[in-house]
């Protein structure tokens, strides 16, 4: 953290040139002025050059918590209907971890019909009618596999590349690698994250400096219409009162700093108040969706019962991206041990989750596209694992499946209308063009212009990276 203190007097004086009094006139004008001349030195989150030219500048990760079933959504397996009800030997990941045995399971057909869509002819089930219309913009990875059989470990693995060890989150690594594109907002935001299955560790900085930690806005279980950034409103002082207070504080601090004869370490403190003030002015507006025209809100399904909540998250994600937030995660999850898409029984419930998210996700992709943002924004849709093609304990649901599942990407740098990798005939194991979660992490960083082997941080006397000693960049999916 020493670099935080490496600030010189010159910088300080410049930054003080636009004190709180001036900010009052135009908060944002001041912010951009400060950014031009001094952000390199004053702001530890200043934008940094990637290792090589980046295809994507920012990421929106749409987290489908609980493990959506790939064989009921995007990975069409006709054999499941043909052999529905038959017993077949499968090396079930959970049974294997617990008993080291392989047992028979009942093949379970998808209750939903599949159809081909778009020019690319991608199969999509009737669960996602809106996303189906966008398939020519999407890039599917159907040979995904990952570590961790239970939700906690697999969710942590998805976010941090480790099922048990304490490691920084993907978003923290990205922020550490690239810095922030703005200087009045956090650089890594997660909207309404789940408190379960790793909770804050899924957006934590671990051993990276704390400036890289994700900022949670709201939490799962709350309403998207109520969420706000912490400590940006004051219950006691009016804005003019607080502005005067900060002016006096600046004078008091100048007195105190002068007495200590030129130590630079205080400059960061002064700067933090200025940034805080700008954040306080900017952030609430950003999350206020009433400023969006009705037709845009409709695109995301805002105002409709099923889609209102997730639609709001998705629209906020777009606004945060526009404002220069580097990594935005939207979460469709809850705080339970069997979160959202986790249909161990009653698979039919998948329909509810699909309904809640289909239009918001499609709306987000469409909206980013029409604004040109999709050109440098990477979208990643997926869960922590997929589900088994057979019924769990011969019941009405599917168990976790870390050995084969589907995610999709869209936007900056990935081939549109493309599908890569496949699972076996049942959809149980990825078999061809397999992409491990480590590989996907490496690929994501690559798209952002970062070499996953070079993006390291020294801790405990050794260099750590997101992908540990693994990860191969999947060049095949890139434009």
């Amino acid at each position: 953290m020493d670099h935080l203190n490496n600030l010189n007097r010159r910088t300080l004086l410049r930054s003080l040139g636009c004190g709180f009094g001036h900010i009052a006139a135009s908060a944002l004008a001041c912010s951009s002025h400060a950014a031009d001349s001094t952000s390199e030195l004053i702001n530890p989150l200043h934008e940094r050059q990637p290792h090589f030219p980046a295809r994507a500048k920012r990421v929106i990760f749409i987290f489908m918590q609980g493990g959506p079933s790939h064989v009921d959504t995007f990975d069409y397996k006709p054999i499941l209907a043909k052999r529905d009800g038959e017993l077949e030997v499968f090396d079930d990941a959970r049974v294997l971890a617990k008993t080291k045995k392989i047992t028979k399971h009942r093949i379970f057909q998808s209750p939903w019909k599949f159809k081909q869509y778009g020019e690319c002819g991608q199969h999509v089930s009737e669960l996602f009618p809106h996303i189906a219309k966008q398939v020519d913009d999407l890039c599917f990875l159907k040979g995904m596999h990952t570590d961790g059989v239970a939700h906690g470990p697999a969710t942590l693995f998805l976010h941090t590349g480790s099922i048990n060890l304490i490691r920084p989150s993907v978003g923290s690594w990205v922020l550490y690698g690239l810095g922030s594109e703005n200087d009045n907002l956090p650089g890594f935001v997660t909207l309404q994250p789940s408190m379960g299955n790793g909770g804050p560790r899924n957006y934590n900085n671990a051993f990276l400096p704390s400036i890289y930690q994700g900022t949670a806005i709201g939490r799962a279980g709350g309403r998207a219409s109520d969420i706000k950034l912490k400590n940006v409103t004051n219950s006691r002082w009016t804005r003019p009162q607080q502005q005067r207070q900060l002016d006096i504080l600046r004078r008091l601090n100048e007195q105190q700093i002068a007495k200590h004869a030129g130590t630079a370490e205080f400059d960061a403190v002064l700067n933090s108040y200025e940034l805080a003030w700008r954040m306080q002015i900017t952030a609430p507006d950003l999350l206020d969706l009433s400023q969006e025209p009705e037709h845009i809100q409709n695109m995301y399904g805002i105002g409709q019962k099923a889609t209102d909540d997730f639609g709001r998250q998705c629209l906020m994600a777009r606004r945060l991206c526009e404002a220069g937030v580097r990594f935005v995660q939207v979460n469709y999850g809850d705080n339970s041990n069997n979160p959202r898409w986790d249909q161990h029984s009653n698979l039919e419930k998948h329909a509810e989750h699909a309904l809640n998210t289909d239009q918001p996700v499609a709306g987000l992709i469409q909206d980013l596209k029409q604004r040109g943002l999709l050109e440098d924004t990477l979208i990643w849709w997926g869960g922590e694992f997929g589900r088994t093609p057979y019924a769990q304990s011969n019941g009405t649901g599917r168990d976790h499946n870390p050995d084969g599942f589907t995610i999709f990407a869209a936007g900056a740098g990935v081939k549109p209308g493309f599908s890569f990798g496949q699972t076996d005939e049942f959809g149980h194991h990825a078999i061809q063009n397999k992409v491990h979660m480590h590989d996907w992490h490496a690929t994501l960083l690559h798209l952002l212009g970062l070499n996953h082997e070079q993006l390291t941080f020294r801790h405990d006397g050794r260099d750590f990276r997101l992908t540990d000693v693994h990860g191969d960049v999947v060049h095949e999916i890139m434009t």
């Binding site: 906690g152 200590h260 050794r462 191969d472």
Partner: protein, 955 residues
């Protein structure tokens, strides 16, 4: 590739009579056309010059000949070569991992190997399989492994005036060598605030400041130091330092974060140890092996047991399904924490390979790991748990508990013998293992036809089940499983329902059985521990009516909070008018009226006894437990896990200590012990140069704001070298010689001139900008706890209660926890996933990571907290209220506010600025402000002072 492969297939298979040279030629052709390109494209990225996964290289002949961790990859002519197995996806080691090669390519490999596996490639660099260094090869020359020396104090004529103590001469000597001078001694206002925060974490009171500033006694400083060291607040401050070092937390964090309801006992133990000034060597022995020490009384024994909680407080993912890996992960975390916290060594690296930078071979790691694998830390279940032990109590309580236990045992015996007599009279089912479905004169729904949700295990282990088996939930997947009995055929109308189970002490005591009937759904709870009251198997559920639209449907579900195994066996639907004996004719035995009477009488006696047992249990003294380890049932050495993969066993290594340490390793262990105590004593040995150096350096850091070795937890070659190696040894030696007294070393540092320097920049600062040589005092940030505690103190709401449980009673999960307590911050619960906001924002130690050094960030979220958080708004308002209750003029008020918050008097200019603030807040106010306006003014004065740099830093 595919085309080439097909081409190979069309070639005639070579006959046995082909000459050797022909074979080689064909093999060579195969190699160049198929094998080499495939190896380059699919294999060498992970098994080549750059990487050698599993120790295997395939970029030269020698690579596959020697092979990797599992032995040679290819044996010429051997059609079962490991490589073939891997590319055929047969043995579980499926290669290449991204997808199976085309069949034709696999056949090309088979042919090539059959033909002798010609390979012209020679090795370019050293093969790097997992070799382990022998202890003899370990390099022990690194500075931190050298024995402690007692360096001569570098006194010289020109140093006398400034230096107070020996340690000052070391500092001064180094400054003079660099032609620098130390800073002058700080003013008394600064000193009193500094020492109060450093020793107690609280600001001095106004009286303490004025008393010290006006004191003329030359020993006043020492008196202050002694007084503060004696305050309980000292242990609260310094105990918290140690809690940082040992990643203390009150929940497991990670996936399914579990609360540690007894962890507060460890926290109190640490605080108490610092206050008692427990010798540091004893302190660490207790934490590693307190359970193996002897004790003089029950209090000492309690401390010893609680201390070992140290080993269990880590961020463990108890939910992990592979328990072998889970156990090794816990051992790894224990070693890592011991290594870094006590010896400044990153031992964890050696789990997978010889340590790249420090002399720790993999064999050392598993020698140490064997000790902790021989220690009982975990209790396994679907979601495992940590080990707990009963704490001993004083003699009186022990006698009482013994009495209670004896009484309980007597009652239970009585109950049992009476039940036995009933069984005897009833001609019990005990000998009848299996009850035939046909022998029951009613509709029987057997488990074999029931619908199962979740995994249920079939069993015939305990007698008395209906049909060919019963099933149980293995006490796993709690809340996820159920068994539904349906298809009761023509059971329409009213029926008396019975449920059967096989009893046992491991059973669930509250199993919910749901019955759907015409009037809705009824839930009945049954206890599956005792035998069913009817013939030892059956329990009556009640009478219910079923219709054609709503036929019988009975569901047994396991519960999230189940206390044992749930059994599902059968449901019996008998006509209402039918007696028990009619329903179970073969089980009934003819009994005389006398016998029947005796049974009835026994039953009522049992009911009475059960009441007494219940009463006894309610009144019983509950024995406290602690998170603590025990010795494992079967201690022993373990094998090296190759590359850290638990299932790949290598050589077995004897339990031992780090071979890089210079003194004698410990003798062969008694096979019946884990070796923990021996390890603990070895770490705490005065000959161990690391232990005393690491702790002396920590104490220096906590006092001076920066370590002599800056990497506090890493004294290895990737850490930093000491700025003053001789001073470090001087301090370490003192620590040992003063019987490992932490307080004594703190006092020495506090009395030194070095500690008492001013923090302002001096002329020397230009040449020593990082203050590596301590030419001035380091300015220290207030910690999260200091900020909160100070605000509560000036707001006069600080709750002085010490010790005891920190988590509010009734808390089940950390999420949404409201940190409402007004006690000192050290007594707030530390959850791994949920911290008080002030902790999160102001760089509180992340309990997920062992880290002795606090981060010091300056970020906008801190400013936002200081501007807007209710805690600062409320406490400053309280402070303002108290201020206004005093009869003071504005000048005096400002002066008092400065003393409370910044520990000093205001300068003239500062006073003017604050006066302006006080006046400016109500710009509409004319004349005398109202009480409310005045309160606002002074609230803002306090808040602004608490936002200023002189509040946030200790000068």
């Amino acid at each position: 590739m595919v085309l080439f492969g097909l081409f190979v297939l069309t070639r005639p298979v070579l006959g046995q009579d082909s000459s050797q040279s022909d074979l080689t030629l064909k093999s060579e052709e195969l190699f160049e056309k198929h094998i080499r390109p495939t190896l380059i494209e699919h294999c060498e990225r992970c098994h080549g010059q750059k990487k050698q996964q599993s120790g295997l290289r395939l970029d030269a002949k020698e690579g596959w000949e020697v092979g990797g961790d599992s032995g040679p990859a290819i044996v010429a002519g051997d059609m079962d070569s490991l490589l073939l197995e891997a590319i055929r996806y047969e043995g579980g080691m499926d290669m290449p991992p991204k997808g199976k090669l085309p069949d034709s390519t696999i056949e090309a490999f088979e042919k090539w190997i059959q033909l002798g596996a010609f390979d012209p490639r020679v090795k370019r660099s050293n093969h790097s399989a997992a070799k382990t260094t022998t202890p003899q090869q370990v390099d022990r020359s690194f500075w931190s492994f050298q024995p402690l020396v007692t360096p001569e104090v570098p006194r010289s004529a020109d140093t006398k005036e400034w230096a107070t103590l020996d340690l000052d001469y070391f500092i001064l000597d180094e400054l003079h060598k660099n032609e620098l001078e130390p800073a002058p001694i700080a003013d008394r206002e600064t000193l009193i605030r500094r020492i109060h925060y450093d020793l107690t974490g609280l600001p001095p009171s106004v009286e303490e400041i004025t008393a010290f500033v006006n004191e003329t006694d030359p020993n006043a400083w020492e008196k202050v130091v002694d007084q503060l060291l004696d305050q309980p607040a000292f242990g609260e401050r310094w105990g918290r330092h140690w809690l940082d070092v040992v990643r203390f937390a009150e929940s497991s964090g990670g996936g399914r974060t579990l609360l540690f309801p007894d962890a507060w006992k460890f926290r109190d133990y640490v605080i108490e140890s610092f206050n008692r000034d427990t010798p540091y060597d004893q302190f660490i022995i207790e934490q590693i092996a307190g359970d193996l020490l002897t004790s003089n009384d029950h209090l000492e024994r309690q401390r010893q047991l609680i201390a070992t909680g140290f080993l269990l407080l880590g961020p463990t993912n108890y939910e992990m399904q592979d328990k072998d890996i889970l156990e090794m992960d816990v051992v790894d975390e224990q070693l890592d924490t011991i290594g870094k916290s006590m010896m400044g060594m990153t031992i964890g690296c050696a789990r997978c390979h010889d340590h790249k930078f420090d002399p720790i071979p993999t064999a050392d790691y598993y020698a140490l790991a064997g000790i902790f694998k021989s220690t009982l830390s975990l209790i396994h279940s679907n979601v495992s748990s940590w080990n707990k032990v009963d704490l001993p109590l004083d003699e009186k309580q022990e006698t009482l508990i013994a009495k209670q236990e004896a009484e309980l045992a007597r009652l239970e015996n009585d109950q049992k013998s009476k039940q036995n007599r009933i069984d005897e009279l009833q001609g019990t089912l005990k000998k009848m293992k299996q009850i035939n479905v046909d022998s029951i004169n009613a509709v029987v729904l057997d488990d074999i036809d029931a619908t199962r949700e979740g995994v249920w295990k079939e069993s015939i282990f305990i007698a008395g089940y209906v049909g060919k088996q019963y099933i149980h939930d293995e006490n796993m997947g709690l809340g996820e499983k159920s068994v539904t009995f349906e298809d009761a055929g023509d059971a329409i109308g009213s029926y008396r329902l019975y449920i059967s189970h096989t009893p046992g002490s491991n059973r669930a005591s509250k199993v919910a059985v749901k019955i759907r009937h015409v009037d809705g759904e009824t839930s009945v709870t049954i206890n599956q521990r005792p035998p069913g009251p009817i013939h030892g198997s059956f329990t009556e559920l009640g009478t219910f009516t079923f219709s054609e639209e709503l036929p019988a449907k009975i569901t047994i579900a396991n519960q999230a909070a189940q206390d044992g195994v749930v059994i599902a066996d059968s449901i019996v639907l008998a006509p209402v008018a039918q007696s028990i004996d009619q329903t179970f004719p073969t089980l009934a035995s003819t009994k005389s009226p006398e016998q029947q009477q005796e049974i009835e009488s026994l039953k009522s006696q049992i009911a009475e006894i059960e009441q007494e047992i219940k009463k006894e249990k309610q009144a019983a003294t509950i024995r406290p437990v602690a998170m603590a380890v025990s010795e494992s049932q079967s201690p022993g050495d373990i094998e090296i896990a190759i590359r850290g993969v638990t299932s790949q066993k290598g050589e077995r290594v004897k339990r031992n200590v780090l071979s890089a340490a210079k003194w004698e390793p410990f003798q062969d262990l008694d096979e019946s012990s884990s070796g923990r105590l021996e390890l603990a004593r070895w770490i705490a040995d005065r000959q161990n140069p690391l232990t005393a150096r690491v702790m002396a350096n920590r104490i220096w850091y906590w006092m001076m704001g920066r370590g002599l070795v800056r990497s506090l937890d890493n004294f290895g070659s990737t850490g930093t070298a000491p700025s003053h190696p001789e001073l470090l040894d001087h301090l370490a030696t003192q620590l040992i010689e003063e019987n490992w007294s932490v307080k004594s070393l703190i006092k020495t540092i506090a009395l030194s001139s070095t500690y008492q320097q001013a923090s302002s920049l001096t002329e020397s600062s230009a040449f020593d900008s990082e203050n590596r040589l301590y030419h001035r005092a380091n300015r220290k940030r207030l910690r999260a706890e200091d900020i909160r505690d100070t605000l509560l103190k000036i707001g006069k709401t600080l709750d002085p209660a010490r010790g005891g449980p920190s988590i509010k009673a009734g808390t089940k999960i950390e999420y949404d926890y409201q940190f409402e307590s007004r006690r000192r911050s050290v007594y707030l619960p530390v959850f791994r996933n949920t911290l008080p906001e002030v902790f999160e924002v102001f760089d509180f130690a992340d309990p997920n990571i062992q880290q002795g050094k606090r981060n010091e960030s300056t970020v906008a979220s801190q400013a936002l907290w200081l501007m807007n958080h209710p805690l600062i708004l409320d406490q400053t308002r309280n402070a303002a209220k108290a201020l206004l209750s005093l009869e003071l003029n504005t000048d005096k008020r400002i002066e008092l506010a400065f003393l409370q918050t910044l520990g000093r008097f205001p300068s003239k200019l500062e006073a003017e600025i604050m006066e302006q603030l006080a006046e400016s807040i109500n710009d509409t106010a004319v004349g005398t402000p109202s009480n409310e306006q005045e309160l606002d003014q002074w609230t803002m004065v306090y808040q602004t002072l608490c936002q200023s740099v002189d509040f946030l830093y200790v000068n």
